[in-house]
Amino acid sequence: MSLTTADVKRMAHLARIEVSDDDAEATLKKLSGILKLIEQMQSVDTTGIQPMSHSQDLVQRLREDVVTETNQRESFQAIAPAVEDGLYLVPKVIE
């Protein structure tokens, strides 16, 4: 699979990362290298091996359903750029 600069730009946009045209070229080379490595890995025969979703062979521990958190709004909002009436303010979002 080969990538284009347009693919890089699109991924950057989805991740909300600003990438200049020069950087896009350099990034394209690096990403293509990674994809090559993946291609190489995919040529390994993995028949009968269960796909892994986590590097540790453990299962999730569960938490009892108990309310343990208290209201810390004041300390959290002390570091927020803008707040009003207990709400965090962000530039207007239009649906």
């Binding site: 699109r10 946009h13 989805l14 909300r16 979703s53 986590h54 590097s55 540790q56 453990l58 299962v59 999730q60 521990r61 569960l62 938490r63 009892e64 359903d65 108990v66 309310v67 343990t68 958190e69 209201n71 810390q72 709004r73 959290f76 909002q77 803008a82 009003e84 009436d85 207990g86 709400l87 965090y88 303010l89 962000v90 530039p91 207007k92 979002v93 239009i94 649906e95």
Partner: protein, 484 residues
């Protein structure tokens, strides 16, 4: 040209836990903004999610209720997108390996044109997965700004997805209602649609009748009432058919329903909104559910509505219709069971009263059965007075009205109002004598062979006794007198 509509549903049910799915914040509704948003919920760096056991148990309960496969191993994934009410920049959901797999739910679609008795249909459930809810945006808080309340962020949801199995708005609404009752029945969701505890997204497409290939679908988002769902699907179906008949094509889109105009309209498409780049969340290990976990939940599961319906038909000899009505909600079923248990007599009588008098009053006053002023034990004590002939069925209605109005228990009202049935045959005989004397014409008619005149005489005698005479005795004594 005959068209066919194809519908599938995705329903977000808010799970009835105390705390969030990945943090120990409360999920109580209506708190002041951001007072129930912890470091995990607002995505401060360095925090880790820890899965809530109760949310997993709710998912298992649902899986059992729709006879589904429950995955021994399921995986949480990140669904990546940017929106201010999603502080992490991703929603923790499940993608390739959901907790609940294929199941099914049988619905009853009510009578309609061409279907006088309604019909049953089994809707296949594709999957159900656990995920977290996002926060809320509040518009108009400040000029040019939006306010963000993260109290809802991290609230546990079970998203239930069906196959495109429904073929009309009526079927979709019947499914949604059935699911709504079921999640409340098994106690995993409070079903409060106003507060957003049960929200439906409906996928609608049309195709020519007989065609195999599905048409392009549009998704109607966030329907929170069954009436709106019906209207939205009907409008959307008409719109798609008209568009195609006019030679147009359908573009895949997300649409919103406007209750004021009754129309659906495409949302300004969020650019590349559907590229979520899912991947397994490295912060969470695979969720393991063992056979013994499932057995433990089975042991505490309530009897399901379908099983209870079958039991009512067998154990109490109720008709399928009555059994269905009495198991329409957990509240009605519990009320009926408690009434029957306290009454100890014929369950059919209890069934008739619950579906008749009680349902009528609740309907009239727009009340839920949990708010009935007449408790099952109170109703049972009234039914006992019918069974032991203290009062007639007709008088019982009068007593019931008084009980509903809060005038006391059945015995007290019967006593106070002097409603006790007259069973003294001497007293009844003298009433009948008076009636016969006053209605000589009717007596003649009866003797001339008019059977109807007999019923009229019974009516007169009942009226003369103010409804208190035992009807069976009146019948018997009247027959005797007329024959002599």
């Amino acid at each position: 040209m005959e068209w066919e509509v194809v519908i599938g549903l995705e329903t977000h049910t808010q799970l009835q836990t105390k705390s969030k799915i990945f943090s120990g914040s409360s999920i109580a509704f209506g708190a002041a903004p951001n007072t129930q948003a912890s470091a995990v919920d607002i995505a401060l760096p360095g925090v880790l999610p820890v899965l809530n056991k109760e949310a997993v148990q709710c998912a298992i309960k649902f899986g059992l209720a729709v006879d589904a496969e429950i995955s021994p191993r399921s995986v949480f994934a990140r669904k990546n997108y940017f929106y201010p009410d999603l502080p992490k920049g991703y929603q923790i959901s499940q993608y390739e390996l959901p907790v609940v797999g294929k199941g099914s739910l049988t619905i009853h679609v009510g009578a309609s044109a061409g279907n006088e008795n309604g019909y049953e249909k089994t809707i296949n459930i594709t999957r159900a997965h656990l995920e977290e809810d996002a926060g809320k945006s509040v518009h108009g808080a400040s000029e040019g700004m939006s306010g963000i309340d993260l109290n809802r962020a991290g609230t546990p949801l079970l998203e239930i997805v069906t196959e495109p199995d429904m073929r009309s708005a009526a079927e979709a609404v019947a499914y949604a209602k059935k699911l709504h009752e079921l999640v409340q029945w098994i106690g995993i969701c409070d079903g409060n649609m106003q507060e957003g505890s049960f929200r439906c997204d409906v996928n609608v497409s049309v195709r020519k009748k007989g065609a195999e290939k599905l048409g392009t679908r549009r998704e109607i988002k966030n329907l929170n009432s069954f009436r709106f769902m019906q209207q939205a699907i009907e409008y959307e179906t008409r719109w798609q058919i008209e568009t195609l008949e006019d030679g147009g094509t359908i573009q895949q889109a997300t649409v919103l329903f406007n209750p004021d105009t009754g129309e659906t309209k495409a949302m300004r498409s969020k650019e590349e909104a559907n590229d979520y780049r899912y991947f397994p969340d490295p912060d969470l290990l695979p969720l393991q559910i063992t056979a013994s976990d499932i057995e433990a939940i089975k042991a505490v599961m309530p009897e399901l509505p379908a099983d209870m319906k079958a039991r009512f038909e067998g154990e109490y000899s109720l008709s399928a219709y009555d059994a269905a009505a009495l198991t329409a909600s957990r509240g009605i079923a519990d009320y009926f069971i408690a009434t029957t248990a306290a009454f100890g007599g014929d369950a059919k009588i209890a069934a008739n009263w619950v579906m008749g008098a009680v349902a009528a009053k609740l309907n009239e006053e727009g009340k839920d059965i949990s708010a009935s002023p007449v408790s099952p034990t109170a109703l049972a004590s009234l039914l006992k007075r019918i069974a032991d002939n203290t009062i007639s069925n007709k008088i019982a209605r009068e007593v019931f009205e008084a009980m509903w109005a809060g005038e006391g228990d059945a015995d007290h009202i019967i006593d106070k109002k002097g409603l006790k049935q007259v069973t003294d045959s001497g007293a009844i005989e003298s009433i009948i004598d008076e009636v016969l004397a006053a209605n000589a014409a009717m007596v003649e008619e009866f003797k001339a062979g008019k059977e109807k005149a007999f019923n009229a005489l019974v009516g007169q005698a009942m009226k003369a006794s103010k409804g208190k005479a035992n009807p069976a005795q009146v019948n018997e004594l009247l027959k005797k007198k007329l024959a002599s």
